[in-house]
Symmetry: C2
Subunit: 198 residues, 2 copies
């Protein structure tokens, strides 16, 4: 589930919330799973991964990660991303383009304090995406952290990312690929709406 706060009242956000509610009512699993595509300019490589989107605060889309992870390094190198939801329960795809940035340390500390200690133990113990000898070693590091560390203290290598879309596309699948597509692009603080060919 995504937590919505002070929902932005411009068109694409209202459409977004409507599609979200429809997918939720249709029983969509992992509704918060969002694909984040990035480009690491220093190694010239496109990459992507799923993350769990936690909040939409007005027009800010927020998720959390390890700040030393490959995605964080890619965002530092090039801050424009593409974010994509696909909800198969309603056959809806939502595509966004945005610039991404870190959340403030104060926000991260506050948020971390209120998370479950099980998740925090993993956030502290894991050098995200770094090699390790075995999965057993992952478990051992996790168990050790759980015993020894202060699990309410946010490490400096963990925190939020926020992005504010400048582009939305809503895609609805239809028979024979006659899909319905609507886009919204931000121009001088106004959303210009278009219909796109399938």
């Amino acid at each position: 589930m995504i937590e919505f706060n002070k929902l932005n009242q411009t068109s694409p956000y209202i459409v977004f919330k409507k599609k979200y509610d429809e997918a939720l009512n249709a029983g969509q699993r992992n509704i918060e799973a969002i694909h984040i595509s990035s480009y690491n300019k220093s190694i010239d490589e496109v990459d992507a991964r799923l993350v769990n989107l936690k909040f939409i605060d007005n027009n800010n889309f927020i998720f959390f990660s390890n700040y030393n992870s490959p995605k964080s390094i890619a965002f530092e190198s090039y801050n424009q991303i593409c974010a994509l939801f696909f909800w198969s329960a309603t056959n809806v795809q939502i595509r966004m383009k945005a610039k991404i940035r870190r959340m403030p340390t104060k926000y991260n500390n506050q948020y971390f304090k209120n998370r479950s200690i099980d998740k925090n133990a993993l956030a502290i113990s894991s050098n995200q995406s770094k090699e390790i000898s075995s999965y057993d070693e992952v478990i051992a590091k996790y168990m050790k952290t759980k015993k020894l560390e202060d699990l309410a203290k946010c490490p400096d290598y963990w925190g939020g990312f926020s992005f504010v879309p400048y582009y939305f596309e809503f895609w609805e699948g239809n028979e024979s690929r006659i899909n319905k597509r609507e886009s919204f692009i931000l121009v001088d603080d106004n959303w210009n709406k278009s219909n796109l060919q399938p």
Copy 2:
């Protein structure tokens, strides 16, 4: 569904097929839906979209598109992509990195001939991702094409793309985010396997 032909017998392809079969048996919807992330170097923009993966022929992953679409233009500008499956039925994510290229015209013509005429009418009639006045206009163009055009003749602006991964990552979700991750990277024709931290 994805059609597998002459499955490559190296480790990551065998793991891939196993995970695919598990997701299929668990009733995964839209199992062929794959996220393709690209970078258009001429406009410095990361983009992504879902496509339907049609075939895995040995080590070639094949899907079809309009060759004038934004994704095709992005692939021309920069040919490295990231491709990602997420199967929520088994909570499995598969990430691949690869170089992408067009399929030969002869292959496209042959494939098009054997597709349904309904899909072909849409492939012919649609200027993919271009603006259009309304969805009704999309339908009108489609109906006109269906009456007037040779629906077995592949237009020169439509065809396949194929990519051969040089990197695979298999991700399995677990409690408290203690996810299991295995990667395979191609080095001098050998797959080097690693365990990655969650």
